[in-house]
């Protein structure tokens, strides 16, 4: 799986590359408009992460370039927060998703995974982990073939964790994912614990292994013990 990260801030580029490389992604990077344009012309990528505020050219122009050349890469637009216009324009121009800075890396991981799933399997795709099978198209979960009924939040939590396996996911990142950062105004994460507890119980009851581990003081980690 090959990604191109177009980001002009070295600190952020570095983190994104490092985090996504922990998954089995091959990450290439570009820090300017020209560099990105050159790489897009030369190579094929599964997903392009595009910061639309770039030195030496508008990221949206790059997106236009991609779309006019009928490239099939998935595109995730990244931009400064509160730029409602950027989001709307970007999505109208054919980007697959939009992420506002500052974001949590697990959120980025989940978004990239979702784009690649959609692109690769023609929209009909499965997210699998051992005996757990999630159909992200039909939004159904099965453990060893037996359907498990989850609430909306539990389902979102499961997909998020499965997209960021073997990673420590902070409560902040989980809260932001479940409720959006608008509602992350009360620093009380007890509600996450409730959802996690219910999800784990439902999966264990259906016969799945105990993959959802809590990391003391921080959050959770999806891993095989």
């Amino acid at each position: 799986m090959k990604l191109l990260i177009v980001e002009d801030e070295p600190g952020l580029l570095d983190s994104m590359t490092a985090y996504l490389s922990l998954e089995d992604y091959t990450c290439e990077s570009a820090m300017t408009y020209a560099e990105a344009l050159e790489k897009i012309d030369l190579y094929a990528y599964d997903c392009i992460l595009l910061d639309i505020m770039l030195p030496g050219g508008d990221g949206l122009a790059l997106l236009r370039e991609l779309k006019t050349n009928r490239k099939t890469e998935g595109v995730l637009i990244i931009s400064a927060k509160n730029k409602l216009e950027d989001k709307i324009t970007g999505l109208q121009m054919g980007a697959d998703d939009y992420l506002a800075k500052p974001f949590h890396l697990p959120e980025l991981g989940a978004r990239v995974a979702a784009i690649i799933r959609r692109k690769q399997f023609g929209g009909n795709n499965l997210l699998e982990y051992q005996e757990i099978q999630v159909d992200t198209q039909g939004r159904t979960v099965k453990v060893s073939g037996t359907p498990v009924t989850l609430t909306k939040k539990e389902y979102a939590l499961l997909v998020y964790l499965l997209s960021n396996r073997n990673k420590v996911i902070s409560k902040s990142a989980l809260a932001e994912h479940l409720w959006g950062d608008n509602m992350d105004m009360v620093d009380n994460y007890d509600f996450i614990y409730t959802h996690v507890k219910n999800l784990r119980k439902k999966l264990l009851d259906a016969g799945a292994g105990d993959y959802l581990q809590s990391v003391y003081g921080v959050g959770y980690k999806w891993t095989t013990p």
């Binding site: 801030e9 600190g11 952020l12 983190s15 994104m16 490092a18 985090y19 922990l22 505020m53 400064a80 927060k81 509160n82 409602l84 800075k101 500052p102 974001f103 949590h104 890396l105 697990p106 939040k153 990673k167 420590v168 902070s170 409560k171 902040s172 990142a173 932001e176 409720w179 950062d181 608008n182 509602m183 992350d184 105004m185 009360v186 620093d187 009380n188 007890d190 509600f191 409730t194 990391v215 003391y216 003081g217 921080v218 959050g219």
Partner: protein, 406 residues
């Protein structure tokens, strides 16, 4: 321009009142002068008549017979011991001269009268002609002045109109009045320069806000990313991980503060003035779970209601009001949401003392320690103001209520 002649009218009123007073005084002085001159003329005639009588007596040693000729009358009567060289008498319509004369050793009193009727007539004719001329002059002046003022002040009103239609963020339409009058031309130019500068400064300010936000978000994004990444390091112990989580919380708080300030600036810059009917019911309904997750009891009593507001602001308004009701609640407390056409009220249990309504909606006013930055209600107020809504606070027995009417 509902009343284009306001300034000119004020000026005209004063100007013509003064002119009228001066003209009346002038007329009076004119009348008295003319009258004096005319009477003096009559007196001269009477003196000549006296001379003629005296010449006649000297020649004939007798008085001419009393006579009445046209407007002149001669009368005499013997009056022993009467001595008078010359004495003028003013009657109703006559001017008379009286004097004594000796005829054959006897004293006579002679009176020559002249009717003033003709003089008065003349005086009135002169007066009427003068008054007429003054009237014509006044009307002419009034009309001329009006026309002139209107023409002269035209650029001024054009400039006023330009200023009236001027909007900081909008395009500059029309122009100030051009004029060959130095002051007005200068005014027009100054106004145009000033508004252009204001718009430039405003643009610069907006760019500054945008850049400041971007510049602040990038380091925040870097910190956030590095912390997420550090958590993946295999060597981190529980203590380090806990501290990283605390750092993340602080970064998120800083990032929310940045966004709140940005939002306030953008509302003030009128970036969200386009309104459309927004259904508040679904926005509120989707907060139910979130409120329950904070272990609060929530009741929503809603009738479908549309508010005329920018959709983004509607969301922000609901988020801040609901967030406020949760943040300032007590463990096991309640949140009651009521939605009626034109009214949204959010009621929550909380501290058993009312908040100070004067400081409630001000920025960074935290009346009790809480996790928020103290911007939520300031945002609510700004949103209400720009959307033509009204927000009120009420307190009753441990229940705080925020009511928005729209």
């Amino acid at each position: 321009m509902d009343d284009p002649m306001k300034l000119a009218a004020t000026y005209q009123r004063f100007y013509f009142a003064l002119l009228a007073v001066l003209l009346v005084l002038g007329c009076l002085a004119y009348y008295l002068t003319i009258r004096y001159v005319l009477i003096h003329q009559v007196d001269n005639d009477l003196r000549i008549e006296q001379q003629e009588i005296q010449d006649f007596v000297r020649l004939h040693d007798s008085l001419p017979a009393p006579s009445r000729y046209r407007d002149q009358r001669l009368e005499w009567a013997p009056r022993p011991g009467y001595r008078e060289r010359r004495h003028f008498v003013d009657d109703d319509d006559d001017r008379s001269i009286q004097f004594s004369i000796q005829v054959k050793g006897e004293d006579y009193a002679v009176t020559i009268s002249k009717s003033l009727e003709e003089t008065e007539d003349l005086l009135w004719i002169i007066l009427w002609v003068t008054a007429g001329s003054i009237g014509v002059l006044l009307v002419g002046l009034f009309l001329g002045n009006r026309l002139l003022l209107r023409r002269i002040w035209q650029p001024f009103y054009q400039t006023l109109d330009y200023l009236h239609r001027f909007s900081l963020s909008g395009p500059r339409n029309g122009g100030t009045g051009t004029s060959n009058i130095d002051e007005f031309a200068l005014l027009g130019r100054s106004v145009e320069d000033m508004t252009a500068k204001m718009q430039r400064d405003y643009m610069a300010l907006q760019q500054f806000t945008d850049h400041a936000a971007h510049e602040m978000q990038t380091p925040l994004a870097v910190i956030k990313g590095k912390l997420d990444l550090m958590m993946q390091e295999p060597g981190s112990g529980p203590r380090q991980l806990e501290q990283m989580q605390q750092l993340l919380q602080s970064v998120n708080r800083l990032s929310r503060l940045n966004q709140s300030l940005l939002l306030l600036t953008r509302i003030e810059n009128r970036q969200f003035i386009e309104k459309e009917p927004v259904a508040l019911e679904p926005l509120l309904a989707e907060k139910q779970d979130w409120i329950r997750e904070h272990r609060l009891e929530v009741t929503m009593d809603m009738e479908p209601g549309m508010a005329n507001i920018h959709p983004f602001l509607a969301e922000s308004l609901v988020n801040n009001l609901v967030g406020n009701a949760v943040r300032h609640n007590i463990p096991g407390g309640k949140v009651l949401v009521t939605l009626r056409p034109g009214l949204l009220s959010i009621r929550n249990t909380g501290r058993a003392e009312p908040l100070d309504p004067a400081r409630l909606f001000q920025r960074f006013q935290k009346q009790h320690p809480s996790e928020g930055a103290g911007l939520g209600l300031a945002i609510v107020k700004e949103i209400a103001d720009i959307s033509g809504m009204e927000v009120r606070y009420g307190y009753e027995a441990g229940t705080h209520t925020f009511t928005v009417t729209f």
